[in-house]
Subunit: 452 residues, 2 copies
Amino acid sequence: MNALLTDLYELNMVASYMRRGMNGQATFSLFVRRLPVTRGFLVTAGVESCLDFLEGLRFEERDLDYLRDQRQFNSSDLEAFRRLRFTGDVWAIPEGRIAFAGEPLIEVTAPLTEAQLIETFLLNQVTFETTIASKAARCVIAAAGRDLVDFSFRRTQGIEAGLDVARLSAMVGFGATSNVEAARLHGLVVAGTMAHSYVEAFSSQAGAFRAFAEDFPGRATFLVDTYDTIAGVKDAIAVIKQLSLAGPLGIRLDSGNLDDLARRGRKLLDSAGLSHVRILASGGLDELEIDALVRAGAPIDAFGVGTKMGVSADYPYLDTAYKLVRYADRPVMKLSRGKVTAPGRKQVFRRRRPFGDLVGLFEEAAPARHESLMEPLMIGGRRTEAQAAVAESRRRFEDDYSILPAAARDLRSPRPPSVRFSPALRKLSTDTQRELMSKLGPHGHPTGSLKT
Amino acid sequence: MNALLTDLYELNMVASYMRRGMNGQATFSLFVRRLPVTRGFLVTAGVESCLDFLEGLRFEERDLDYLRDQRQFNSSDLEAFRRLRFTGDVWAIPEGRIAFAGEPLIEVTAPLTEAQLIETFLLNQVTFETTIASKAARCVIAAAGRDLVDFSFRRTQGIEAGLDVARLSAMVGFGATSNVEAARLHGLVVAGTMAHSYVEAFSSQAGAFRAFAEDFPGRATFLVDTYDTIAGVKDAIAVIKQLSLAGPLGIRLDSGNLDDLARRGRKLLDSAGLSHVRILASGGLDELEIDALVRAGAPIDAFGVGTKMGVSADYPYLDTAYKLVRYADRPVMKLSRGKVTAPGRKQVFRRRRPFGDLVGLFEEAAPARHESLMEPLMIGGRRTEAQAAVAESRRRFEDDYSILPAAARDLRSPRPPSVRFSPALRKLSTDTQRELMSKLGPHGHPTGSLKT
């Protein structure tokens, strides 16, 4: 693992801290400042790849050579970089759980240099993966029990992103992915049919369907919209009859008015005695279009969802922050306008019924009928348990989702449950802010106001 | 390189083609169907990583083992996969050039199986990289000569995406990146200052600034908004004077009303005789906000641009397609509603003055005063030249940008120049469509109409 996967300013700060012996225990809190208006909840993800990164964190010789050549750092800085490992603790809400803005998703407690160096990597992974998992969960809500297949690989923001999207969509309930390498890596169900080019490569559409069915008799889904969709459905029916195909069969609609075409296709199939042939719809779908189709009662059995889920097209990032909340036994906070952070090491407590989250101080005991969401996933630089399998994270998601208030699940105007701060956390915030303001002296006063 | 970085349907089709000996020469065309309304042009990117992928394309034993275990393919399919290499030609518009919707960015001519297998990877890379390069170019337009620094790494869609964004933003004119590994890999200028946590880790802001300036006297930029921005500017001025700092110096504003704070900060600096101290602004900026600040005359010398550029927040993908246009010496096309493709192998011809692009057939000679944009970057599976350096792609961008009509550069309501089709291409389209319609027979007629 490569310690240069960071921003230069992290290295500046680490070098400066090392020169000054400022390496007391620090706690940084990673959280989402506020949710996009179309998100009623977050599905946490990304911490597992952060743990991998932390376990392997080190500067390789080529990294040190590069920094030496840049003349940004002196030889004792480089020597300190060479020795640096991550030795700290990571408490986090495990992957797949539902969380909200203002709740720490991860808190890192480590010597200041180590905890600072890793900021960029942690933000990157948690922001991206939580963004995608939360978006994919909206598709699952919209599909209302119909099957979902991840078709995003061709338009994700890179190959690594595509592999992650397949895993994250499976975590929240997608049944399969088209992405072969992701399926191999993560043990997912892989699915796929044919492209328009396949139909075009044959001299007739019926010929293409016949060839495909002969080659894959156990899993033929016919793409029917290359030329004319209804003609395509009729060609598919003819081939199914001609070859007396059994096994799972389907047709795929990829363009046009999917509701209308699904109804007409269903009618043709049913009239031909093929009520067991499924209809798969795809083509630029997002959760709102899926929701509309489902509510309209379109006879679609499965949706292929690609780009708009795979890049979280309506909101392709989250407003995440990684903030120092405690250093050398004192709480710290930032007062920048609109970006005030709550000080101190924390814990998140959840009551299942009625559903409610409370952010408190790390030292506080869980109130009655509340569970603690943050768990010690790394102690002293080592994982406390093996990486969670997708199935395990999926169980966590399903369990949390089962108790999530309906208002938070609404796709168009969701209302996330309010997250309360404990009296002890509120008092620490007030006290810390007062102390900071008194220290700012004659130059001015903080411009932000504390949000709780 | 891993041939499983693809969608299952590609493998289905490849296996089917192999069983049938359908492996004639095919040409696939990769293009953007239509531009987002806020894009007046595209900056091409992604082909270089595609060429790397194609040179190394092969199924490894673990890939074949996986496919065998899945029982999706028989043993002769697997043997054919094992032997598969990419042996074809790739003609493409080189990275950094300006292009438009409807123009082939890449055309692959190869045996059908090879050309089909690679679809997913090529679409992924070209879509993502062209999306980002085109977005970053808008920031360069907005900055109107002021410096730009890529700050996106913490919120890109993965680590690989972050490394690419740094390179692509440099390609269109960003002066530096905060991303250390990207700078090392691609020879970019790396830049960085300090985080709010640095200020908070000291017992006073002035103390933090003094420490930083002592440690990096040659490159101190002070982040002034941790508590109160104007107080921060005053602390920075005091430290600069106290330590008699020379060398490049700056202050960074990261929140609040940047226009107002920049003016007040500039006044304070100038009054203190520090007119050489630069002002860097950051904090959720996109090209429209940069444009507004520049037009308002805010005294900002450089902009740090992060998330919104790094994920292309307003439009995080492009409507790309990879379509079979020719197989076994006959032109082919798709007629799906709204997705009609133009048949045949092509070339793009550009006239510089007056600016105008013409898409023609591959065999056509360039019209007078036109240059051919597509170049043979790979012949017989081997690159024709070494990977282009960022600086070379940047020269291409600057050259094309210098002749781009002003209407296409507009940030809010851009009008891309119209792309014409040559008479020969129009005739081939009409003829192919007519032939396809006559073949569809009694089942129906194509529902799309040809767009030229």
